[in-house]
Symmetry: C2
Subunit: 348 residues, 2 copies
């Protein structure tokens, strides 16, 4: 699909770096007042008045973070932005600007890079974020995307990983395990396709989980909701590596333990069905699967009534003394110590 | 050198991502008042009062931007920071924070990554910049570094690529072509080494040029000097792709042409000797070599007396009408139109 076998495709070496940047970014305009200067100089310029500026950055690498066999390029652009925006929402801050750096090998043609930027542009539009700069270069082998995100908020609204207190409630948005279940289905179909390239998989019964994997959404709506409900979480993180790993991060930063109730972990029925089909535990998918980009946060007990029965939000546990550690309480009442079995970057 | 054949070396898969980040960044502290929150949460936090914040970002990829055959890892860390700081100096702004994202394959051991971070730490110390965040992951093949840099300054001090007016003087700091000459020597010795691994090259007569290639310095001192001399350039850029390409960038952004005098281009005697040895023109090395990280800027003629005969600074030409284009005036008085033959990311 992305090899340069088509005479209508444009080789990147015919264009040159500067013309490529101009071409890819011409449809991006600056929408935020705080975006003073965008692409085209040595640096971009932003201004955030008297409030702190938040910055986060992520690298996404072909063969490690994504597989172009089943990841459409437009989705890749969209998802890579989501991963970054999610980090700022995890601090209760609205992202306002991003920079995008991209490295591609010469097996990519212009039209492929354009598709990635279409996904980036859609993400910018949907989330009201400005693309203000970046770098474009070649790579020896695969595709590399490096995105940084910036935003600002009054200091008292910013939520760190530290701040959870004993007896605070542990809350998660949406449902978990879907991105992992979707990935397992895609990997299975890829294996089938490699054996029989004429196979036509029917993925319609897996559509929710596959969308969770290929086109996740960052939880801007949850940040907006918390603001409307006048709740400032005491600590917060986004779920990129799995519920288990993220709970341990909050525990370490806040110096509290957590009790987490298996039966309270929100799991979509489709995810449960896929897990049954694949003979894996849905709770394991939720705990260790990752890539759900939901928000995990703690709130003071006094705020419980405000979120009770909200369709987006599930109270899944509470903070306890640090020395009790982080325990999963199973449906049978057993305590199982949480371990970080999430995505380990260097163990593959 | 960096393969894991030594029992005292530590495999990255034994450590895990989070412990690796902790380990690599424990010696970094926050020195700037504007660095509110560093590594360890979803995002970093900076605050720049009422002034604009400048941001720039660069990707550096093994096999494209550097060759570990002759690039020591500590130098690589140092140089990659310099490349980024140079972008902010090119806007007349002092960088204050950086984020560093790194992707490595499992052929790298912990000690190799530590060396890169030692170079980054030295750069931070020498230039009074804080490391505030980043990402650490694995790659399928080589080493990838993605650095973003931030800083702020009063709006009237910030210098863009646009702003040069007709008759402004074109000034360059330091001397040019050295990094390119150094690269040619290193490539030659690499080729010799590949034929005869026992060869012991004597590189002492090329030390200036090799240092220009392996351990460049960003021109903080030039920014300080301009401040002391009370000069605000009318336009500025740093020389990463070569004098020719950068002059064309200033020309395009400022909508002026330039006359550039061959005899005024500053070239170190060692660079001239190397070029003679390699049978290349030193002026070509200066125009198209790149990686010198000197500053190229325009000043109003009234400021000429302040910089006249300064050892760092050379007036190499002047801005003219846009329609005259960018012309190199040779020693014999011929006009040669400048073309961007600099580093073309996609043509290799």
């Amino acid at each position: 699909m992305i090899e340069n076998k088509n005479p209508h495709k444009t080789s990147l070496s015919d264009i040159g770096e500067f013309a490529l940047i101009d071409h890819l970014t011409q449809s991006f305009s600056l929408e935020n007042n705080s975006s003073l200067l965008g692409i085209g100089d040595d640096a971009a310029m932003i201004q955030h008045g008297k409030n702190p500026t938040l910055i986060s950055t992520d690298l996404s690498i072909e063969g490690i973070h994504f597989d172009l066999t089943y990841m459409p390029l437009k989705h890749l652009g969209y998802k890579t932005v989501m991963v970054n925006l999610s980090d700022l929402y995890a601090m209760n801050v609205h992202p306002q600007q991003i920079t995008v750096s991209i490295a591609v090998s010469n097996r990519f043609v212009l039209e492929a890079i354009e598709e990635i930027y279409q996904g980036i542009a859609l993400a910018c539009k949907n989330y009201k974020v400005d693309l203000i700069g970046g770098d474009t270069t070649s790579s020896k082998t695969g595709l590399i995307l490096s995105i940084s995100v910036m935003g600002s908020a009054p200091k008292k609204k910013i939520v760190l990983r530290k701040g959870a207190k004993e007896n605070d409630l542990l809350v998660v948005s949406g449902d978990l395990g879907g991105a992992y279940a979707g990935l397992q289905i895609l990997e299975r179909e890829k294996a089938v396709f490699e054996v029989n390239p004429n196979s036509q998989p029917d993925l319609s019964t897996y559509s929710y989980s596959i969308e969770r994997q290929l086109k996740p959404e960052a939880r801007k709506d949850v940040i907006d909701l918390l603001d409307q409900l006048n709740i400032t979480p005491t600590s917060m993180i986004d779920i990129s590596d799995g519920l288990s790993s993220e709970t341990l991060h909050l525990s370490k930063a806040s110096k509290v333990g957590f009790h987490l109730f298996e039966e309270k972990i929100p799991i979509d029925p489709e995810v449960s069905l896929i897990c049954e089909e694949l003979k894996i535990s849905p709770v394991t998918a939720a705990l260790n699967g990752g890539e759900d980009y939901e928000l995990l946060f703690t709130i003071d007990q006094k705020d419980f009534d405000k979120i009770k029965n909200h369709p987006f939000l599930s109270v899944i546990g509470h903070a306890c003394e640090s020395k009790k550690g982080c325990q999963l309480i199973s449906r049978l009442g057993q305590q199982i110590e949480l371990t970080a079995q999430g995505w380990q970057a260097f163990s593959r």
